[in-house]
Symmetry: C3
Subunit: 197 residues, 3 copies
């Protein structure tokens, strides 16, 4: 990356506040979800084309303001799910919650990110994998966390405030606040500017 060629682009005006065909369709999807799961009490959020949310009997949802789930988002919620204000999931993300997931304010998730708070019970055996059920553990993500495209976050991890998870990383252990973590499995690469080591 040659610094001489770097340019800083201003962030676009948030597209979810305009009146548009896309946003009206998102509103229709939101209302449909409320009708389908009347016991859920969630504030308004934006669900884009192809977004699919399946809510199980043990689900409790708490959704902040300005949450956007972009195209082809896939959510299977059968636990306690908390999404802070302004949380943004880019296209094609998958979130499966059987125990609990808490995400702080203003977190951004790149396209194709997967979050799973559950694991199958692997290994050979007499019973099939699908019949063995799942082992789940809570996931906690702080505020202002940016998760790069196609990263995977697995059961039981905590990610601190302001951390950056590199594209394609697989987070299998806790990541502290204010660091860049990357790789498979994800390791701390460096502290971000302005964050004490």
């Amino acid at each position: 990356m040659s610094c001489s060629r770097v340019s800083v682009a201003p962030a676009a005006e948030p597209a979810h506040t305009r009146v548009s065909a896309r946003n009206l369709a998102g509103l229709r999807r939101y209302l449909w979800l409320r009708l389908r799961y009347p016991r859920l009490r969630v504030g308004l959020f934006f669900a884009d084309r192809g977004a699919e949310i399946v809510v199980g009997p043990r689900a409790r949802l708490c959704v902040g303001r300005g949450v956007r789930l972009m195209r082809d988002f896939s959510g299977h919620f059968d636990g306690v799910v908390t999404l802070g204000d302004g949380v943004f999931f880019n296209r094609g993300c998958t979130v499966v919650v059987r125990h609990s997931l808490a995400i702080g304010d203003h977190c951004l998730f790149g396209e194709g990110v997967s979050i799973h708070d559950e694991n199958h019970v692997g290994g050979p055996g007499v019973t099939s994998l699908a019949a063995r059920g799942f082992v789940a553990a809570p996931i906690v993500v702080g505020s202002n966390v940016w998760v790069g495209a196609r990263a995977v976050i697995l059961a039981g991890v905590r990610i601190g405030d302001g951390a950056v998870i590199g594209a394609g990383a697989v987070v299998t252990r806790d990541i502290p606040a204010g660091v860049l973590a990357a790789g498979v499995p994800a390791r701390v690469v460096r502290h971000l500017p302005g964050c004490r080591p």
Copy 2:
């Protein structure tokens, strides 16, 4: 992962045996595939919304009972494809077969898994990459194998019974039975409980 917070959820009743709009649409997709490729002789399987299967002239398919290809599955079959009973591909998987692919019973594939038994012929040259054709080698996956989300399985590898492939792993070499393999490229991390080292 704090063990004190771990919960074990029972596996859901298999959704593919209910009469539902989704399953009837899946049946329509299956019948359309049979009509389009009359020489194929495959048992009933479930193909979800957006599933796309292209069958070439050299394809031979053998599909077990209870196979499910979830949303946006993409299959390009121009070789010998064998899928065991209960094989499950979660959303957005891609399977390209030009030589052969054999998958044992009850294997589970997470969302966004790619399986390719072919490679382009890389490097610079006078002819374009697309005009150089492919080199293919068979892939064999045992029974009760669980492949994590967004993993990639490449040409010529064998994966043993009961192995677990970590999320985001790229499998370039053989993986023995009963181990957890992860990383890019995938390496054996440990033997699973109950599996002799």
Copy 3:
């Protein structure tokens, strides 16, 4: 990979030159894009089902002959984008350009590849991540480059002619011509046959 089982399949006749329902729908999508962004002057290309191209005010597009953007391609173009002849993006690729992206002739991109010439400005802070804007740097990809499935190419990198990027790799630094690079982050694995070290 046992060499004795390797077979070489001939490349299929290019599907984009046939008259088919899929190609006619692609033509309709192309014409719609031209109508929506009349100031763009781009040659004919193929955009498959679900392809979505958003063009910003600062975008300049230069598209070669026989370019194909397969199913669910997602392009956000707000910079200078140059695609050479015969460039092929398989399904589910994401390309975000705020500064510039130049791709040479006959490059092939596997399914689910992400290209981003921009980064968020990470770390904790008072303002939200989304309000901080982006830092962008140009990406240059040579000719006859093959990028494997689900790889990610990040801001400011150059990839030389005839390089092969392994599946699932995350390219964070420059890759020279004629090599195979793989891993997270991507490193040179070996020189390709016929390429001097």
